[in-house]
């Protein structure tokens, strides 16, 4: 591999339940190959995992999350999750989880071998209802890029229904040219995974 133009990273990792309970053992053992080419974003990812949660259990958990979200006060208008002191109200935690998932798609779209992102904070959240009864979220996430130390605000519009893949539309600001794109989580090389297995 030409190290200037291409870069492959091999990973081994285990996954766990996103909100693990006491003593719960780690779930799947995974290995992945992440392939960066020509310093371009959207690396190709090949992931294989063993010993995941049963599909029916995954679906059950997804549906529970969906129900919880549906029950939240409508319209939802929240500022800053977590707050400045790092607190997330337990009732708002699923919002952060869902936002994290949507942001991970955006981050993947922007990540190169030199640019790494983390979700620093959710800075505003609005929830809307759609006709098909999906969870519809409009939020601003502040992404932290490590090598430049910049904070990049991205507006993300996320639509989710447990039986369908996540739909993500976004628009990021910043010193670089603002980018706008949309996509469907799970349609890339990574296999579709249940929310709780993220």
């Amino acid at each position: 591999i030409n190290s200037k133009k291409e870069c492959q990273v091999d990973l081994e990792f285990t996954t766990e339940h996103y909100n693990p309970e006491e003593g719960e053992e780690r779930l799947g053992k995974c290995s992945a190959q992440v392939f960066f080419k020509n310093e371009k974003p959207r690396p190709t990812i090949n992931v294989t995992c063993m010993r995941f949660m049963e599909k029916s259990k995954r679906q059950q958990e997804d549906y529970l999350l969906y129900k919880h979200m549906k029950q939240l006060k409508d319209p939802l208008d929240v500022i800053s999750i977590p707050d400045s002191h790092g607190h997330i109200d337990p009732s708002l935690r699923p919002i952060w989880d869902l936002a994290f998932l949507g942001s991970s798609y955006v981050m993947w779209e922007k990540t190169t071998q030199f640019l790494h992102y983390y979700m620093a904070q959710l800075s505003s959240v609005k929830q809307w209802k759609t006709d098909e009864d999906a969870i519809d979220f409009d939020y601003t996430v502040l992404l932290h890029e490590f090598s430049t130390q910049e904070i990049i605000p991205c507006r993300i519009h996320l639509v989710w229904h447990p039986s369908k893949p996540l739909k993500v539309k976004y628009h990021c600001q910043g010193p670089q040219a603002p980018e706008e794109a949309s996509g469907i989580e799970g349609s890339a090389a990574a296999p579709t995974m249940g929310l709780t297995n993220y």
Binding site: P82, G86, I88, A120, Q121, H144, T148, Q149, I151
Partner: protein, 375 residues
């Protein structure tokens, strides 16, 4: 001297807010006024497992020096851009022998709140335990600790009043259109050569020239004046869970690199033993990214042998906005790491010899005594 400092402090707090342009300035003033009514009654009830605004940290410093006057003194280092006083605490056991210095600063980057929290924790731990903990007592026999709890005071306050994720100082550039210098790119070591920006809107803006910022000047001049006696320079940041050694500006290694790695690795092991947290150890350019003008590199290059940057919890899940619930564990494990480094520094400078000297003197005295008794 004291009343003057007090006036300066008040001016420093009120003047920037007193110009009162917009909502955030007014909010700032209100914040300052609110916070000066202490929510806690004394040092005994000061919550080390919570984040504190700058007003409370200033008060905490006063309370500390009032409670431990035999070992603690508070010293003025310089003024920030927005004319606030920078103070460090000197912890020193009075004695006849000359001491070497350990320097620790926290909060050079405004949003890294866990760092000032650790500096306060460190001071508390030393002071609460120096009398009955033999390890700490031993260190204080020959070492003085100089702790700067918040280096970038203006920036820190800004993260409380306006923008939680602000990093730089609050100096004004380009006719007030652009704010802040990355203080950790402003030191005079390979200044702005790599990993820093000449654009004042960027987060890694290196300043208008080396040591252009008053905060950098204050720290540099002081360290420079004491450099012969400083054994160890520690600068505390977040996040990333790393113990970094020089350099960031070059792949060349400092002359004592092997030793730095050894000491660093031992510290990371001590840290992990506390709560299982994994830290990586290495030179900044190898395991993080290239940077120039950092305080750690500058300290090493003026001759301070042990110079480390700590990047505390976490690994990106919460990043800068680390939950208060994690302050205690983070501080406990970091304390273990820092004490490990201090033990190694102490050993290296041959302080165990003083025990030998005492034994031989005693022997001679007892011999003399026994001779006397013969006559």
């Amino acid at each position: 001297m004291k009343p003057l400092l007090g006036t300066l402090y008040l001016l420093g707090m009120l003047v920037p807010g007193g110009l009162g342009y917009d909502r955030s300035q007014a909010q700032h003033r209100q914040e300052v006024v609110d916070k000066t009514a202490t929510p806690w009654s004394s040092l005994e009830t000061y919550p080390y497992n919570r984040y504190h605004p700058m007003g409370e940290i200033y008060q905490w410093m006063s309370l500390i020096r009032e409670k431990y006057p035999e070992v603690v003194t508070q010293h003025f280092l310089g003024m920030t851009y927005e004319t606030r006083p920078m103070y460090y605490l000197k912890i020193s056991q009075p004695s006849n022998n000359p001491k070497k210095i350990i320097w620790m600063d926290c909060g050079i980057h405004a949003r890294e709140w866990i760092a000032p929290a650790f500096c306060q924790w460190f001071v508390r731990e030393i002071l609460q335990n120096y009398q009955d903990n033999s390890r700490i007592r031993r260190l204080l026999k020959n070492l003085d600790f100089y702790v700067l709890p918040v280096l970038n005071i203006d920036g820190y306050i800004y993260t409380w009043t306006t923008d939680r994720l602000w990093r730089k100082s609050r100096s004004s550039h380009n006719n007030g259109t652009c704010f802040g210098t990355d203080l950790n790119r402003n030191f005079n070591v390979s200044w702005c050569s790599i990993g820093a920006s000449k654009n004042c809107s960027d987060s890694t803006f290196c300043g208008t020239e080396p040591v252009s910022e008053p905060e950098t000047k204050a720290v540099s001049s002081f360290i420079e004046s004491k450099k012969e006696d400083i054994l160890c320079f520690l600068t505390i940041h977040s996040y990333g869970q790393l113990i970094l050694m020089p350099y960031g500006y070059t792949r060349n290694k400092p002359s004592n690199y092997k030793e730095l790695i050894q000491v660093g690795q031992k510290a990371a092991n001590a840290l992990k033993a506390k709560h299982g947290t994994n830290y990586r150890v290495g030179s900044s350019i190898d395991i993080l990214y290239a940077t120039s003008g950092s305080s750690r590199d500058w300290a090493r290059d003026i001759g301070i042998p042990f110079s480390y940057t700590f990047e505390l919890r976490d690994n990106g899940t919460h990043g800068f906005v680390l939950p208060e619930a994690q302050i205690q564990a983070t501080c406990e494990e970091t304390m273990a790491a820092v004490l490990s480094i201090l033990d190694d520094v102490y050993e290296k400078y041959g302080y165990s010899n003083s025990a030998g000297k005492v034994t031989s003197t005693t022997m001679v005295l007892s011999l003399l005594m026994s001779f006397r008794s013969l006559f």
